[in-house]
Symmetry: C2
Subunit: 172 residues, 2 copies
DNA sequence: TCGTTGGGTTCAATGACTGAACTGCAGGTG
DNA sequence: CACCTGCAGTTCAGTCATTGAACCCAACGA
């Protein structure tokens, strides 16, 4: 994005957008919350050019949103995981997801509080427990159990057909 | 943005990003929540090229986020106001604002529940009342009352130096 | 040794963004 | 009325980001 910063805006929203405002970035972070950790899985799930994915991952690491670590199972590879600052983006991500669900509904997912199975409201709040659970205490599953034709066949999409707890690595 | 859509993503986040994911769009909406309604005020406050502003406003009108109406005070001009779907973006906008405030703090603003003067938490929740107020029930003011050098001199920045209720038109 | 896979980088073409210049309309002034 | 000003855009050439394809290298496995 041309001039990805907003230097003239003395506003914390502008600062946030400099980190997550570029094309693809929020989708990458959504996948990170869903447990995607490897370059190849991001790429297969997002259909994103590798050059862009590489740039975004590096940028997110530089900005302290993701951490790049050696992959314990494969020498010479990496895994990308959310840092505390990255996990702290969950309320914003969930709010956007919920808005899209209400106003642009396509096949969507439910997000439920893991300790009580209650779907979260638009503010990420659990009406049963009266708390606002953190991502590790939330699981997600596709809404509407009747099988529609599956659109994507990549390993991540397949894994997410079953209920999955946020931040828990997806094995592929 | 090249290919501003994310057709391959069967996800409500992708649908939301197609509406608000382009550069400048969320800053325009932030200003709309702050009460900016006229082309010229957006332009002066954002330092955005007029061609881009024009395109974004039209796009947001097409997407049902803003409504363009004749300006009652000036024949041949318009005012842009948030629709119900646009106002419903407040939780997402506030969550991003709050994240930037916590992790990228620059001179920021407080958002307080108008009925009790309590600052909202990161989820937009009022800890005193136990409610999550809608934008018309929130006011904002600059944090930290000691005068720092004023960076921007435009009418909107000046008006926002004093407490201001969200959605209430800024008179310039 | 060779082939394959993961994880990138490089490159030309395309398209979005930028800033400056231009236009058209409405009101105000002399 | 003629002139000027300010708003709300549109047009345009130049710059920069994105895209998809091709290429590269290191680490396996056969």
């Amino acid at each position: 994005m041309l001039g990805k910063d907003y230097v003239a805006q003395d506003c914390s929203l502008a600062r946030a957008l400099e980190v997550i405002g570029e094309r693809w970035t929020l989708l990458i972070l959504r996948d990170a919350f869903f447990g995607v950790r490897r370059f190849n899985d991001f790429q297969a799930h997002l259909d994103i050019p590798k050059a862009v994915l590489s740039g975004r991952l590096s940028g997110l690491v530089d900005d302290g949103i993701l951490e790049r670590r050696p992959d314990p199972q494969h020498a010479g590879r990496h895994v990308y995981e959310l840092t505390a600052a990255g996990r702290d983006l969950w309320p914003a991500l969930h709010a956007l997801l919920a808005w899209g669900d209400r106003h642009r509904a396509s096949n969507s997912r439910d997000f439920k509080h893991a300790t009580c199975d209650t779907p979260l409201d638009e503010h990420g709040h659990c009406p049963t427990c009266g708390t606002t659970p953190a991502p590790h205490d939330i699981y997600t599953e596709p809404r509407g159990r009747r099988r529609r034709r599956v659109i994507r066949q990549d390993p991540v999409s397949t894994a997410l057909q079953t209920p999955h707890r946020l931040l828990e690595p997806i094995e592929t």
